[in-house]
């Protein structure tokens, strides 16, 4: 059996990154993710990797740009205000088709907000986030286990599609301790294949240029269109979700991350009382699991979206269900975390209203 350790979510990410064969971290401290750079500084030192505490999140993301362009797996982590600062760099990285991994341990906002868990960066994460036409592959873990596993998945997707990948966690997932099973062997970074586009000096080959601009008439349009063909592929291949108890459901709760685990308990309460309620947990937020929700909307009358915000993912649920179903919302912004009874009450309200 795989080794099981009781770990902070923030530490699980670090192990996940190390196990994924990444040896480059740059970042700037911000609560509630400080355990990531702290623990990372120790682990990178042990593994002979690069750890840089930078002057700003702007510098950090640009160091990732450099490291990724040099063909190496590189990651950073931050929390909401810091991620805002990184958006410039993420846009350039997306524009240069470079793979990097960014972890956002979301806190309450806008502005300085607070340091309590939130999901209010959903729009930013799933709509590109910075300037220009682009998307970032966005994964939403809901446990320490997934915080350990998603860095590898994130790097694999980022490299497969040459696109930045984002892990959207929150302060609760980062700060909590849970058992984590080390389900796979660590990847040896030297075993990772050399990238055919990496900058390394042009010995024995044509020189390479990494850039995000093209001023020639019509060329940027072509480039953006090609990038959107890539996005279509990602949408087709990479929609990830877990559906539980949805087959006979009259109501499906849609929730990701922390809200999904809380909603799961509410769904269990409802099922215990004989109500036909299921849970759909989007794992990839971009690409959003539009297809499964679209299918479900042909037979499910009610969707209840639960978020730790005033409602952002609900837009995607509405888009996916195309007005075929009734979509209701329960949200807790500014650091509030919903409880199972609270969601259960909401479920009763929605179902009761139709009887």
């Amino acid at each position: 059996m795989a080794e099981k350790r009781l770990m902070y979510g923030n530490h699980a990410v670090v192990e996940g990154v190390i196990y994924a064969g990444c040896r480059f971290f740059a970042g700037y401290p911000i609560t509630p993710q400080n355990e990531i750079p702290e623990y990372m500084s120790i682990r990178m030192n042990e593994e002979g990797g690069v750890f840089l505490q930078t002057e700003s999140e702007i510098a950090a993301i640009n160091m990732l740009f450099g490291a990724a362009a040099a063909g190496k797996r590189a990651m950073t982590s931050s929390s909401s205000p810091g991620i805002s600062l990184m958006q410039e760099g993420i846009s350039y990285i997306a524009g240069a088709d470079m793979p990097v991994l960014v972890v956002n341990v979301v806190r309450g906002g806008p502005g300085l907000g607070n340091i309590a868990p939130a999901q209010s960066d959903y729009y930013q994460a799933t709509r590109g986030g910075g300037h220009g036409d682009y998307f970032t592959i966005t994964l939403a873990p809901h446990s320490g286990q997934e915080l350990f596993e998603f860095p590898r998945l994130g790097f694999e997707l980022a490299e497969k599609y040459r696109n930045p990948a984002l892990i959207l966690a929150d302060g609760l997932l980062g700060q909590m301790m849970e058992p984590v099973e080390f389900t796979y062997e660590p990847i040896d970074p030297t075993s990772l294949p050399e990238k055919e586009w990496a900058l390394s000096g042009c010995k024995g080959r044509e020189r390479r240029v990494v850039r995000s601009y093209d001023l020639r008439p019509g060329k940027l349009e072509d480039l953006n269109r090609r990038r959107f063909e890539k996005y279509e592929n990602i949408k087709k291949n990479e929609q990830r979700f877990r559906a539980s108890r949805c087959d006979d459901a009259d109501l499906v709760v849609v929730a990701y991350g922390t809200c999904a685990r809380v909603s799961d308990a509410a769904v269990r309460m409802a099922r215990d009382r004989g109500l036909k309620v299921g849970l759909l947990r989007p794992i990839s937020l971009w690409p959003f699991p539009w297809d499964v929700l679209g299918d479900m909307s042909k037979r499910v009358e009610h969707f209840l979206v639960v978020e730790m915000s005033c409602g952002q993912m609900i837009d995607d649920v509405k888009l996916a269900t195309e007005c075929r179903s009734k979509v209701q919302f329960h949200g807790r912004p500014g650091g509030g975390v919903p409880t199972p009874p609270e969601i259960y009450e909401k479920i009763l309200g929605v179902l009761g209203g139709t009887r």
Binding site: F24, A26, V50, L52, T54, E55, S56, I58, A59, A60, N62, M63, L64, F65, G66, A67, A68, A69, A70, G71, K72, A74, E88, G89, Y92, A96, L199, S200, G201, C202, K203, G204, R207, R208, V209, V210, R211, S212, Y213
Partner: protein
């Protein structure tokens, strides 16, 4: 007959899009010559800036990357730390290095990042059309200081070599100019030292180069060259501001 001077192999064949008399071309050529003379072209990664020299990624015959405005030293750090055998140069203008990228510059120096920074100081924003730069001289006109830089309202210029002299991590700092053959020879020597320092794993080296921008200054190329002697180098004195190799001896 043997060609003794001509386009170095460190430059691509592309004709550069700079205005007549612009100093960028001279500095490009000096770097390109050194890529060949130091035999580092095949392990160099150059960082192009945002500004007039945004197209530098087409001009240098080596691997190149185009970072966001001002972030050259951060991108260079990422590459250098990932591939310590590569030689990194970050080519930056005054807006890039001394305004939007001040933090990245100062902190790369503070970390003694083993990179070579080439700082083109022409006291004006060229590409965006001649606006005030962090290095625009007091009283000097720009499109956002039409009556001349008013230091009360717009503050004072930043003297980068002097500023970085206060950063212990910086290994080598020199200010040069490319307005006369004599100064150009000195500039090349400074650039060579800056590259050698990196090759010897010594540390952060920055060469500030006073460079002509006749278009932005509203003068002829010949006048611009004279202006560096008469005015600009009085405000920005040429010379070595830090040389730890010498200090350590």
């Amino acid at each position: 007959m043997k060609k003794i001077f001509g386009r170095p192999a460190g430059l691509t064949e592309i004709i550069q899009r700079y205005c007549p008399g612009c100093g960028h071309g001279i500095v490009h050529r000096l770097i390109a010559e050194l890529l060949v003379e130091l035999d580092i072209r095949e392990r160099t990664v150059g960082i192009a800036p945002v500004g007039c020299s945004v197209f530098a990624d087409e001009y240098f015959n080596c691997d190149m990357i185009q970072p966001p405005h001002g972030r050259g030293p951060a991108v260079a750090t990422g590459i250098k730390r990932s591939r310590p055998d590569c030689v990194l140069f970050s080519y930056q203008g005054d807006g890039d290095l001394a305004a939007i990228g001040t933090a990245e510059t100062v902190h790369a120096a503070a970390r003694n990042e083993k990179i070579t920074v080439i700082f083109i100081n022409n006291a004006i924003y060229g590409m965006t059309g001649g606006q005030l730069a962090p290095t625009t001289l007091p009283g000097m006109r720009s499109t956002t200081s039409v009556k001349g830089r008013d230091v009360v309202k717009q503050g004072y210029p930043i003297k980068v070599c002097e500023l970085l002299s206060g950063v212990d991590g910086a290994y080598y700092l020199e200010r040069c100019a490319v307005n006369t053959p004599k100064n150009i020879i000195k500039t090349k020597k400074a650039l060579k030292t800056a590259f050698k320092n990196q090759m010897d794993d010594k540390g952060f080296s920055l060469v500030e180069i006073l460079s002509m921008c006749p278009t932005g200054w509203g003068v002829t190329p010949v006048q611009s060259k004279q202006w560096i002697d008469d005015v600009m180098s009085k405000y920005y004195p040429l010379g070595v501001y830090r040389d730890r190799a010498k200090e350590e001896k």
